[in-house]
């Protein structure tokens, strides 16, 4: 197992220069996500109009995996409706599991690079935190954690 497959160039690139990092001038929704296992924290702001995500920004203190996921995710989700984001998340989630769903309908694009995480089960939550925080923001749930019973993860 080579860890270089996990920390490959595309992941490191998003970690070093994250896209959509910062805040939005006009956020309609926001939420804070916490990973109590490591103390990481992510704040996500959304601008939603007519049920479509128009813009997104994130900030916080997080590891390379969480930051890269948030950055890649942000690039993918703009212009999508909530159901579309959930479908994307379902495919992404499946790609992280030991037995990826061969029929996963959605092309993950750059996010596919993170599927190497399936060899690092202790780090799965790092990649799921941005998604959980995004969906929480959509529901205007102001604060969530990766440890809640009714986590918005599928």
């Amino acid at each position: 197992m080579s860890v270089a497959n996990l920390y490959q160039q595309i992941v490191l690139d998003h970690h070093r220069t994250p896209r959509h990092h910062g805040v939005l001038a006009q956020a309609t929704h926001n939420a804070d996500g916490h990973n109590p296992l490591c103390g990481d924290h992510m704040h996500i702001e959304l601008c939603i109009a007519d049920d479509v995500l128009r813009d997104i920004a994130f900030n916080g203190e997080a590891c390379a995996i969480t930051t890269a996921t948030a950055s890649m995710m942000s690039e993918r989700v703009i212009g999508l409706r909530r159901e579309q984001i959930e479908t994307l998340l379902a495919s992404f989630d499946a790609s992280l599991r030991a037995t990826p769903d061969a029929n996963a309908a959605v092309d993950l694009g750059e996010l596919e690079a993170l599927s190497e995480l399936r060899r690092y089960p202790a780090r799965l939550k790092c990649a799921l935190l941005p998604w959980a925080t995004l969906l929480a923001a959509w529901d205007i749930r102001i604060s969530i954690t990766t440890e809640t019973a009714e986590s918005p993860l599928p």
Binding site: V3, A4, L6, Y7, C38, G39, D40, C63
Partner: protein
């Protein structure tokens, strides 16, 4: 399994022979020899411990203090022998004051619920320190919520030492108990317990010491320390998980109601009234972790055979070397630089998250902890979400430190 082996001197210590006693240290991880630097989390177990647990189940398996048959007597003798070993390990005046628990967490909860809860009133204070493990914070918050008592916190310096003049000022008549760790699991700081206990005693304030991280590294003498409660957890001192001890002075224990009800802790039960058993059994309800306690006895024998002074000397040498080597890495920040600290090194490399570091190190066979180490308030003090932590034991080597440093440099190069 006799403890009659004479202690090794540091100069005579043969680390390779010692390592051969620990089966897990022979392992490879991701094709690399395991470098186990997560000893403050839990320590590896010597064969003697594994065999003691195994031997109990193979030969002596029976319940303790209840069966009159041979196996019952053997099991009871082995189990009770650990109480004697623990008594002398901490130099307690009496074996009756040594209470078996599932670990430090249960020991502290026992004091919180049986000693503090009935005594605390609104306006009272429990004094903690900034460097406590959650196990020495949360039980106090729970009893404070129920009684209206408040928690006060002794601050620390940037080096990770308690500010004793502030401690002194906080020891007011409102304080009903001072609870502090002997050795910090994050900073390695060894707190001056004897001096602090003297300060508290002068005001009639009892002191609970969390000895979880002290037991594997230091000689413990509860009488010389002058504390009132001392908690230990077995798995960090090379014993089985789910074992531990609470020590307290007899007068204090006698005045405390039992923590849990059940078998073993009673003299006589009718549905109207129960006469509780004598110490220590009053606090040991139910069938305990017999195999684990017997294994803990073997762990104490192992430590004694090596000699705690030898352990301290070997670990100090490793600590100095590891600290020197770490400080050659650009962007290195070490948390906790108190003089005389234990071999626990929390650190961060600028621009590198502790979690990414731990993942990459693992692929080089190096096991370190990353995260908040169950010490959120301490992380907040230093303004970080997480740190990486290398915690060393006597079976670690300078060569392993070199592997660790090389792995850190590789991780840094990969991530920056």
């Amino acid at each position: 399994m006799s403890a009659n082996v004479r202690s090794t001197r540091a100069a005579d210590f043969d680390v390779q022979r010692c390592r051969a006693d620990f089966p897990a240290l022979q392992r490879h991880v991701h094709g690399k020899p395991l470098v186990y630097f997560d000893n403050a989390n839990t320590a590896q177990k010597p064969l003697a411990v594994i065999e003691a647990v195994d031997g109990y189940y193979r030969r002596h398996n029976a319940n303790v203090s209840r069966a009159v048959h041979t196996l019952g007597s053997e099991a009871t003798a082995l189990y009770e022998a650990t109480r004697d070993k623990l008594r002398s390990f901490i130099n307690a005046p009496s074996r009756d004051e040594v209470i078996f628990t599932r670990g430090a967490t249960e020991s502290i909860n026992l004091v919180a619920y049986s000693w503090a809860l009935p005594r605390l009133q609104s306006g009272d204070e429990i004094l903690l320190t900034q460097m406590e493990h959650h196990a020495n914070i949360v039980p106090w918050q729970l009893v404070c919520e129920r009684t209206g008592a408040k928690i006060k916190v002794v601050p620390i310096s940037q080096e990770g030492e308690l500010l004793l003049d502030q401690l002194d000022a906080l020891l007011t008549p409102r304080v009903k108990l001072l609870c502090l760790t002997h050795v910090s699991n994050v900073l390695g700081t060894v707190n001056p317990i004897a001096r602090i206990c003297a300060m508290a005693r002068a005001r009639g304030i009892p002191v609970l010491v969390d000895g979880s991280q002290a037991a594997p590294h230091l000689r413990i003498d509860v009488q010389a320390l002058g504390c009132d409660f001392y908690a230990i957890t077995g798995h960090k001192m090379f014993g089985p998980t789910g074992t531990g001890m609470l020590w307290a002075k007899r007068a204090i224990l006698d005045a405390m109601p039992p923590f849990m009800g059940g078998g073993e802790m009673i003299k006589q039960v009718s549905f109207e009234k129960t006469v509780f058993n004598d110490l220590p059994y009053k606090f040991e309800a139910g069938t305990p972790n017999i195999a684990g306690v017997i294994g803990l006895g073997a762990a104490i024998d192992y430590i004694n055979a090596l000699g705690i002074e030898t352990i301290r000397a070997i670990e100090s040498d490793l600590l100095v070397y590891a600290t020197q080597q770490l400080n050659t890495i650009p962007g290195m920040r070490i948390f906790g630089t108190a003089p005389g600290k234990a071999a626990v090194i929390s650190f961060l490399i600028e621009g590198v998250h502790a979690h990414d570091l731990a993942t990459i190190l693992d692929t080089d066979g190096v096991a370190v902890r990353s995260g908040h180490h169950c010490a959120h308030p301490l992380m907040q003090f230093f303004g970080v979400a997480a740190t990486a932590r290398a915690s060393l034991a006597f079976y670690n080597t300078r060569e392993e430190v070199d592997v660790f440093i090389t792995a850190l440099l590789r991780a840094r190069a990969m991530l920056l």
